[in-house]
Symmetry: C2
Subunit: 481 residues, 2 copies
């Protein structure tokens, strides 16, 4: 049977070294886990085997949901000895098929490792297990007056362990920097069951190689992250969102530059949507509020989030006067309260969802020099003219653009993809961009690794994989496939 999507149908060949699950294996897992820590019921398996986009379909017959690191160590040690491949799974919110099996690999869910261990407000460090949901962590530290250093659309489902395993990006890179930059401690279980405690919880600790960082962004192929310590920042007392329309992308860039210079510390996020992205949200998302209903709007909408402990209105007024005098924007709105703040953010956060209304959507998550964002969107739009609806939007402040290509007619899915995918990745390669800014490689993009990494770097990646997981049991077919 051909699977629903073209991408998912191009699978790497099954590795015949791996064993399939036998009654003997099952009896071992039963000996170290309680009955409710094993899932074998056919009706329960699909939500672990299939990703949330319904794009990648595995056929695991066993899901393990241990509660302790020691169980995970025993599981991996056994799997390693018995050539049983394992897919670590977090909140299953990934976009590149990294968290579901390709064949019948055993699924190891981190959902029961969900204890928040401590928050140290002297040192601003949150310590928790890998299965904690990002939003729960956010709510937890809010009581201490802090923000976790990451926010993204999947916050209500994704696990912090998965965030770290994929080095998740999100919208507050300007404010917090990269997640890896905010990581202090990490606990990882290696393929052979060895538990690595790299949990200093100290901001500065220059005692040897930083092995934590190899695991961040390794997508579960080098070890399973079981716990972490991360730096949180004190919340600011005030936040507002300014939304602007601009009639050229050059003006978006000018607005970004003026925001960096004039808002500086007070700039916490800078996002943009092109006309197509804005329009599709307005037409498809119920109860969305259009802040620019009665005017001829510019082609580009920019969101500028401002945070401050004092005088936020004065900061906003000063900035507004500067950009108004330079005629950077056509229209502007500013959130007056928390509800408006949320409503305006909802526009940007609804782009991905609204694109799904068209039909099949190819999502590209790309990094490149920001002055080339609109050029690339237009190149793709031209390439798919009449066949698809193309939206460009994303994180200007982070150099990360998302381009969603929604194909009008199912029969054109494969045509669009076969032409478009290699074209986009080649275009980026020539401009030193990245084919995966924040989603990772997973199953989807592993085969394009050489578009972004040199042969020498790929060779070293393979050596690292062999060193840590010589039998290749951890998340096979992903990243290096």
């Amino acid at each position: 049977m051909k699977s629903k999507f073209f991408f998912a149908s191009i699978k790497p060949s099954k590795n015949l070294i791996f064993s399939s699950l036998s009654p003997k294996h099952l009896s071992f897992f039963n000996s170290i886990l309680k009955p409710n820590e094993l899932i074998t019921d056919a009706s329960d398996l699909p939500r672990y085997n299939i990703d949330w986009m319904d794009k990648y379909h595995g056929s695991a017959t066993l899901v393990l949901q241990p509660h302790t690191v020691s169980q995970i160590s025993s599981i991996l040690s056994y799997c390693n000895s018995n050539n049983l491949p394992v897919v670590p799974q977090g909140g299953n919110t990934g976009l590149v098929g990294g968290g579901t099996p390709v064949y019948d690999e055993l699924i190891l869910s981190l959902k029961n490792l969900n204890k928040i261990k401590a928050f140290d407000s002297n040192n601003d460090v949150l310590s928790c297990e890998a299965g904690c949901i990002l939003q729960d962590l956010s709510v937890y530290v809010k009581d201490f007056g802090y923000d976790v250093p990451l926010d993204l659309g999947a916050r209500g489902s994704c696990f912090i362990g998965g965030n770290l395993a994929t080095n998740a990006g999100g919208k507050y890179f300007i404010r917090h920097g990269s997640l890896r930059g905010n990581l202090l401690g990490l606990q990882v279980v290696l393929a052979n069951g060895t538990v690595l405690n790299m949990d200093s919880g100290l901001r500065k600790d220059n005692t040897g190689y930083d092995l934590r960082q190899i695991f961040v962004g390794s997508e579960g192929t080098l070890g399973i992250i079981t716990a972490c310590d991360i730096i949180c920042k004190k919340k600011t007392k005030q936040q507002k969102l300014m939304v602007f329309t601009c009639d050229s992308f050059a003006k978006v860039l000018a607005l970004h530059d003026l925001a960096k210079t004039n808002l500086n510390l007070n700039l916490s996020a800078f996002e943009y949507m092109d006309h197509n992205a804005y329009k599709i949200v307005m037409e498809n998302i119920p109860r969305i509020i259009n802040p620019f209903p009665n005017k001829e709007n510019g082609h580009f909408v920019s969101l500028v989030e401002i945070i401050s402990n004092q005088n936020i209105d004065q900061i906003i007024e000063g900035f507004y006067n500067i950009i108004e005098s330079q005629k950077i924007f056509k229209d502007a709105v500013i959130s007056e309260n928390e509800n408006q703040f949320e409503d305006l953010w909802k526009i940007r956060e609804s782009v991905a969802e609204s694109c799904n209304k068209i039909g099949l959507v190819y999502k590209y998550d790309l990094s490149l020099q920001i002055d080339k964002f609109d050029e690339l969107t237009n190149v793709i739009r031209k390439k798919t003219e009449g066949l698809a609806y193309t939206t460009g939007y994303g994180h200007i402040g982070d150099g990360n653009i998302h381009i969603n290509v929604g194909v009008f007619d199912k029969k054109n899915n494969e045509i669009v993809e076969e032409i478009l995918e290699p074209f986009i990745f080649q275009w980026l390669r020539e401009r030193k961009g990245s084919i995966s800014a924040e989603h990772g490689l997973g199953l989807m993009k592993g085969k394009y690794l050489n578009y972004c990494k040199s042969p020498e770097v790929i060779a070293l990646m393979k050596n690292v994989k062999t060193m840590l997981d010589p039998k290749g049991i951890l998340n096979p077919y992903k990243v290096l496939n």
Copy 2:
């Protein structure tokens, strides 16, 4: 001959696998380098063989100063084939003997790799070679209105390559986060001469394992850093320094907490000095200005740096009123202009220098929970009562304390060290602190690695070393010794 310092005299045994430099080797180096790229003159060698503290003395007979990455690749490839050990050397400003030879290892100086390649103000990325001096980079990006994300006392001599190789910390961790968090691209030459280009220059790039990070903080033992891309931040328009005296360490912690909450984004550095540190600066540094001359001062002096784009006086006034009402401090001064700002910072930055006036100084660079800073200083002070002058100071905001122990009488040097060193490191071990916050391990602390890292982590570090440098030619006897 016993060397000047006890520490430097405890050398690991010489590795007999290594070759010594022969005329044949020299003739190869002459064939790929110009005459002015080789130093063999006995009168020129000491400044490369001896560290700036005159503590570590190597006996290299050859220093290579190549101008290109391709030369470095040829040098390492040859050294690897011929078992010739190599010490990469930056500005030679390290404090733990990491940058000088232990025996007669060849020295590879990065000083001629000093090109600033570009600054991209759209994407805020500085690209430069490893031999650039930190201060030169700082001056360069200042013209674009930016700060480099690192500042430390050795700024006028240290190289950015050395900063990365040691994951240097410094005083602006609060503002910029860790150097590794601001690293985007890295070029490294491996022991076998392979050049790894990991130079994406992109903020978000999740395409495979982040191999850059293994090299950051590896102190030249895994590869030689030759170029980098780092994120810079726009300068703020205003900066001021507030200096407070507090009569207890608990009040310093309260001040720190109030600064985090109330200054928040506008807090860029938070440093402290205890009474001994403040006093020795005032008594020993010429032309230093004492801002608290005529009063009975509190025991602790805290420096709070505030940055803002607008209304800095209003921010300061608001903060001052809060902490005054809570009776946190005894006296306070605030810089009125750039000169005063520099003069006040000079007090804090002169502690290390002023301690040298006592005699031999043992410098401890430690990370631990900030509420234990003063307890540790007092424990050490008690332990060395009558024998030494102990100062506690450092980066409260980063959890990094420096404790300098100046021994009064030379004849007690070894007694103090032999008793003190294992005691301090054991004390820290029991409290999950770090024996090296920002200086690294080098030759000095490699033997204490097991105080901070578990056997499993050390085993993996050794595997990484073997994978990247199987013959161990890169900076031998350091980190893992």
